[in-house]
């Protein structure tokens, strides 16, 4: 169809009415794109129909738009509508920057927090090690204490009280001697803390003649909580003594520094 044929056909009037088929609608649309005259004709028809149909409206309707906007939950203020539209890019921009800043701050914070956490973790691990060591020590103590209790409960045990001597009359100690296992437990809790640079040395003695045998220095006297020390004693002891000696111990007892001494009563 030529543009004149389109205009004269009456199709365009039906097009505006919506009375054509889908196919015809598409053809008219194509003709409108192709011929400006056809488009203009459609616009003129439409304008006339808009006016005709509007004339049948019993009441003005323009004022109802706000009601529609309210029903749709849209902003009723025209100014706000503009704000929604225009500053959108600004809003986007600012929110973008804000997001970036928040992200940056967040990362920094996280970095710092991470550092703090690592330090805390290290501290906690050290504490853990310390606690584990303490637990281990406590277990050891407990084992020793249990072994000690078992030993002293044994009726074959020999109990030897060591009394305070001239240099320290208030000192005392106790030896529990299990002859079967050749073990002594020395309870040294009645001795004062040794002065700095000095250690206690434990001696096994035989009398007539007085012969001391070194049973070792008491290391870590201060650090041992219950001050009970387990010592091998293969000797045929008749008495036990404790002297204060220079650090590392002495080959023979310094008798002027004899703190406690006790004789095995039923020494055979």
């Amino acid at each position: 169809m030529t543009k004149e044929e389109y205009i004269e056909s009456g199709l365009l009037e039906l097009y505006v009415a919506g009375a054509l088929s889908d196919k015809e609608n598409q053809e008219v649309y194509a003709a409108m794109q192709k011929y400006p005259e056809v488009l203009q004709e459609v616009l003129d028809i439409e304008t006339a129909i808009v006016k005709l149909t509007a004339a049948a409206s019993p009441k003005p309707s323009k004022f109802l738009f706000n009601t529609i906007k309210e029903k749709l939950g849209l902003k009723s203020d025209g100014a706000k509508v503009v704000m929604l539209d225009k500053p959108k890019s600004n809003w986007m921009k600012y929110s973008g920057w804000a997001a970036a800043i928040i992200l940056g701050a967040g990362l920094l914070w996280q970095f710092n927090t991470n550092g703090d956490l690592e330090t805390q973790l290290q501290t906690v691990e050290v504490k853990k090690d310390v606690l584990e060591a303490e637990i281990e020590a406590a277990k050891t103590n407990l084992r020793e204490a249990n072994a000690f209790i078992k030993t002293i409960q044994n009726r074959d045990i020999l109990t030897v009280p060591l009394g305070g001597q001239a240099v320290s009359p208030s000192s005392y100690a106790q030896v529990y001697w299990d002859k079967k296992t050749n073990t002594v437990y020395l309870d040294a809790s009645g001795l004062p803390e040794p002065p700095e640079g000095k250690v206690y040395q434990f001696w096994s003695l035989t009398l007539n003649p007085l012969t001391p045998t070194d049973m070792g220095v008491i290391e870590n006297f201060s650090g041992d909580e219950n001050k009970i020390f387990k010592i091998e004693n293969p000797n045929d002891s008749q008495a036990f003594g404790i002297t204060l000696e220079p650090e590392g111990g002495s080959p023979g007892p310094t008798l002027e520094q004899l703190y406690t001494l006790g004789v095995v009563e039923n020494a055979s």
């Binding site: 056909s9 097009y15 505006v16 009415a17 009375a19 149909t53 049948a56 849209l74």
Partner: protein, 176 residues
């Protein structure tokens, strides 16, 4: 192509464009709806629903399928006809006035303040009976050309020619 841009913006949920289009077409839709429901309050109510529906389903409009105005008028007719089929409507409106749009326009007082009112009143007064029925069916009732041809017992070609001549007259009246 200004209208096309407006419709595009409307489809992108631009409220300003929506308001402009509403301003252009709300009276027309209300007129078409009123011609079917014949109740001012109901017509207003249906007309608002039509624009709400249009806004919510703006995506479904495509320029390739027809004019935006035609799309709206289709929604309006359907909504109005649906309304007349509702039970509440049937109960309240037992006897619908069978007058054509012509009678409505002729009895409109509110048209006096509109520029084109005199032209349109003159038009419908002068309008030949043969035009009244065709315009009524095609524009106000949404008949297809085939349906109109059956209703009026006229060949489709005659409907086309007659309608064109009637609209030509209208255009001369309102557009000068």
């Amino acid at each position: 192509m200004q209208l096309e841009q407006l419709v595009n913006k409307f489809q992108q949920k631009d409220i300003k464009a929506f308001e402009t289009l509403y301003g252009m077409y709300s009276d027309s839709m209300q007129g078409v709806i009123y011609n079917i429901v014949r109740d001012q309050d109901i017509a207003q109510e249906v007309m608002q629903d039509v624009f709400i529906k249009a806004w919510n389903s703006a995506d479904s409009y495509s320029a390739k399928k027809g004019r935006f105005f035609t799309w709206l008028i289709n929604i309006s007719r359907n909504a109005a006809i649906d309304k007349t089929r509702s039970k509440a409507f049937k109960n309240s409106k037992q006897n619908l006035n069978s007058d054509y749009f012509v009678d409505i326009i002729q009895t409109q007082d509110s048209l006096d303040d509109q520029t084109d009112a005199i032209g349109i009143k003159k038009f419908v007064t002068k309008l030949a009976d043969k035009c009244k029925a065709v315009i009524e069916l095609l524009y106000f009732k949404g008949y297809t050309q085939k349906e109109a041809s059956e209703e009026l017992d006229m060949p489709i070609g005659t409907i086309k020619t007659r309608n064109r001549n009637c609209i030509k007259e209208l255009r001369e009246m309102v557009l000068g």
